[in-house]
Symmetry: C2
Subunit: 383 residues, 2 copies
Amino acid sequence: MDRQDGVSRRAFLVTGALGAAALAAPRQAGAQAQTTKFHVKPLPAEIFIDHGINQETRLETLRGYLTPASHFYIRNHGPTPVLDAAAWRLRVEGDAVERPLELTFDDLLRLPARSVIAFVECAGNGRGFFKEFMGRVASGTQWRFGAIGVAEWTGVPLGAVLELARVRPDTPRDVLNVLVEGLDAVKVNRPMSLAKALEEDTLLAYAMNGEPLPPDHGFPVRAIVPGWVGINNIKWVGRIEVRRTVIDVPTTTKTYVLEGPDYPTRVPLRLQTIKSAVALPWGATLRAGRQRIRGFAWSPVGRISRVEYSLDRGATWQPAALREPNIPRAWVRWDFEWDARPGEHAILTRAVDDHGNVQPPAIPWNAQGYGYNVPVPHPVRVM
Amino acid sequence: MDRQDGVSRRAFLVTGALGAAALAAPRQAGAQAQTTKFHVKPLPAEIFIDHGINQETRLETLRGYLTPASHFYIRNHGPTPVLDAAAWRLRVEGDAVERPLELTFDDLLRLPARSVIAFVECAGNGRGFFKEFMGRVASGTQWRFGAIGVAEWTGVPLGAVLELARVRPDTPRDVLNVLVEGLDAVKVNRPMSLAKALEEDTLLAYAMNGEPLPPDHGFPVRAIVPGWVGINNIKWVGRIEVRRTVIDVPTTTKTYVLEGPDYPTRVPLRLQTIKSAVALPWGATLRAGRQRIRGFAWSPVGRISRVEYSLDRGATWQPAALREPNIPRAWVRWDFEWDARPGEHAILTRAVDDHGNVQPPAIPWNAQGYGYNVPVPHPVRVM
């Protein structure tokens, strides 16, 4: 972040005007009223596995690289609030802030925009496999691998807003001291480090795949924190607090922590883990003959460099073909051809990223079921 | 294109099966009936300039990098047909084809998919400026610069389909001999060269920004021919013909040709021209003070390396900031800060690509108004 630029940015913000017409887009229909429905968008059973307030994407329904809003998984802590962008305010405050701010939605639109293609993934994606393959239930939604989606997010770098608020230069960069808080009923909040907050791809986003954020995905503004666990990507953002010390909140002291017999102390989550998934229903039925098996692989820190598959439960591995695009902290699509013979089969896949991370053969259990990324035997029946 | 692979591709195509379940997506609602409406999607006046059967995007309404289907311009030669994917067939034939084919939509879904982010732009985008700045009307829709959009297109490389049809190896590569034909009422068709048809990013696309193509944009299948004029991106594709000789059709002999006093012979169009546009209404009104002016720039052959703007009608030029992403044959977003003083102003912009192409100070007039890419003085009133 270029601190020299702070004066001019503040200047143009205070001066106002700034061609809001250039950024005007049709207002979200029906953005005036609160609703008590859990979700706003349609949730057809062909696309989503219904976990109640949470909805898992059936990855086999995705055709392109990007996940359309209509197919994007939902992880909510309460019903989706339907907010009015004109009434929306963002407060920026805290003891590390020299100039507390309140921004309107139009103020945000006037700041330079950035678009980032990145995954957003629930911290507990894959949680169901702790039970399925380790025999130990972890608490929470029993997702398989469908609590992930990749979209183009457009908004303002969070760093640009922190610059307007003049974060003190001696603020520690590596502790969890930038809290982002939602306007939902339970005010879900979660801190990240100042270093992460200042990365150019960390956004206060107002658009998803070029359109205003849908209510279920955070309208009017959500955080996008590439590579970090989903909870950091706070929806319906209303307040940001920056402190000179770590911010302890229940989402880092009680929930979203690694804990269990193999963890001497609770560890607040930051990064996701590298994973791959087969784009077939769990327990798919295929006809015998040549089949093209496809799927997705993603890493929280880089680009996927290799995906391998095994049809003999891990005895031997073959490379899958990777299909462009292959964007870091988004995902890559892979596929392979399989001469499928009748019977019961399991397809294992494992991914490697360009930082040398690989899906491990085993991981320790944790009570809340985070980070499951062991290659899973995806069951397939061939008729 | 790897010709060695032809046998295995044909083999799996003939064997069939291939996990169509993996690619199943909800069928387009109402895909059973023909309609006589011009267009299917809503066309609000805030988003589109109404040219009747053609609809121009107001570039100032775009928020992200990608153009959502709801905002994508429409250039049709007749009413949008609403087709049934289950009944759709693609014929591949012609004297350069050793194995004529007929493919179903499911056959197409079984082939390896590719996604490409690219612009599609009407050949006549900017046509209105021939009248506005040269005083000579060119025939056709009087677009300004809004007959362009950038989307993620997903489908099968056309080359993979031509490989299945076994195009004869001695077929000329650089003449316009691969004809793509639509299933609309007038069967719009247009040839490209075999070389272009075999580029890996030339697609038979069935998805746009991750969702099935909307009817107005070619459901179920359209051609995507990056960098070439919009007419090559045939919608509602139904037939492909490959010949050992040039294919002359009215869209290369009469329309979509450069002709006029400066063109001794008619020249069929291939590539688009490099352009830039300001994302403000034509004749915008802004308040005095610091303004952020933004826009788009694109090239048919590469990535934009520089955008410059002039506020003194071309006497001096300043660099604009380019915003990521910057994808070749898609576009880049640029912006600059302007301390706007009251009065009438003109904003000129010019783009340069990484092949050294630059928007020229003048171009010859042509009767059909193609390729206008002279920097235009975008009128702005500051109050």
